[in-house]
Point group: C2
């Protein structure tokens, strides 16, 4: 095999979910049918790696000092939604009409992995609670054990500052069938029932 | 959203099989967890697009004038395997112990799409049949209608030059169940039966 082609196939495997066969297919597709696309991707990768860092306010990914969301005066700065990753920000924005601000933890509390509050930018978040008139802190960490622990920790911080903390609902996912749900989800769904 | 990030996500969609969600996941993965991999991929893409062209002899992808296979004196140059794409070359080499030479058509005969013999490098192949002592031409085009037509056309060319042409076997794929096979495959499997 050709060294340049081998290296391209190996490099494509750094993409999540791409194995040996997919990488080969991608490399051949780009070289045989879409060289303009390959060059565009190379330029976009370089540009992103060179310029994208974390927002100084909310810690999401941005190419500037402060991200466009934090600078947007049209947003409700009285509500801050706390999420684990920048991907969660995109997921929430594309699925909902939430137009408040975010705080991105870039992780979750996990003492076993040596991840404590200082790694999650909680000092920054606390400063935002002190300096701004925040009415509500939405705890949108994952529904995993670490996510719950993280939500609990941040919830206590909100209480210290007299800020209302809310947790996103847990229950039956859309299209879910009760018979196949795990016990924990079903218990959450029942205890979290609402007037109909 | 950030323009640089948006452009990276859009550029990743030029990869085959990558939709909006996968592209977003890939972009975030690279920026959050594997910037070295992203830079490596950018360099590999540029290098491949800049240097990889087609072999002057067999038309497969190579960074040189003539590919390493065609220059390899350890190969049997009396057998040429005709395939449609460079990917077919890789598939055959990784699955079999075939160590002859190749001719890559970079397509198949398809009059409706305006693809004739001159687009498949058949003049080059004919020159190889004239100039070298070729014993066997293996027709390994796909088992599609166009692949069969292409194989037939090249088979007649081989006959004109007194070269033996063979066609790869058609029949039941490994693990295949007769009950679910299409009629054409089953007919091929029966008519192509061998002593056991």
């Amino acid at each position: 095999m050709e060294a340049v082609l081998d290296e391209l196939i190996a490099a494509l495997r750094c993409l999540p979910g791409v194995g040996a066969k997919s990488a080969r297919r991608m490399a051949l597709h780009l070289l045989e049918r879409d060289r303009a696309g390959a060059r565009r991707l190379a330029v976009a990768l370089e540009a992103a790696v060179d310029t994208v860092g974390h927002c100084s306010v909310c810690r999401t990914l941005t190419a500037r000092e402060t991200c466009s969301r934090c600078l947007d005066t049209g947003r409700d700065d009285g509500v801050i939604c706390v999420v684990e990753t920048p991907g969660d920000v995109l997921a929430i924005e594309s699925a909902t009409d939430f137009r408040g601000l975010f705080h991105v933890l870039l992780g979750r509390l996990s003492p076993l992995d040596g991840i404590g509050p200082e790694d999650l930018g909680l000092d920054q978040l606390e400063k935002r609670l002190q300096d701004h008139d925040v009415r509500e802190l939405i705890l949108a960490t994952n529904a995993s054990v670490e996510g719950e622990v993280t939500a609990h920790y941040i919830g206590e911080m909100a209480a210290r500052h007299g800020v209302r903390a809310t947790r996103i609902a847990q229950g039956v996912p859309t299209g879910g069938e009760l018979e196949y749900l795990d016990a924990g989800t079903l218990a959450h769904a029942l205890s979290g029932r609402r007037d109909y």
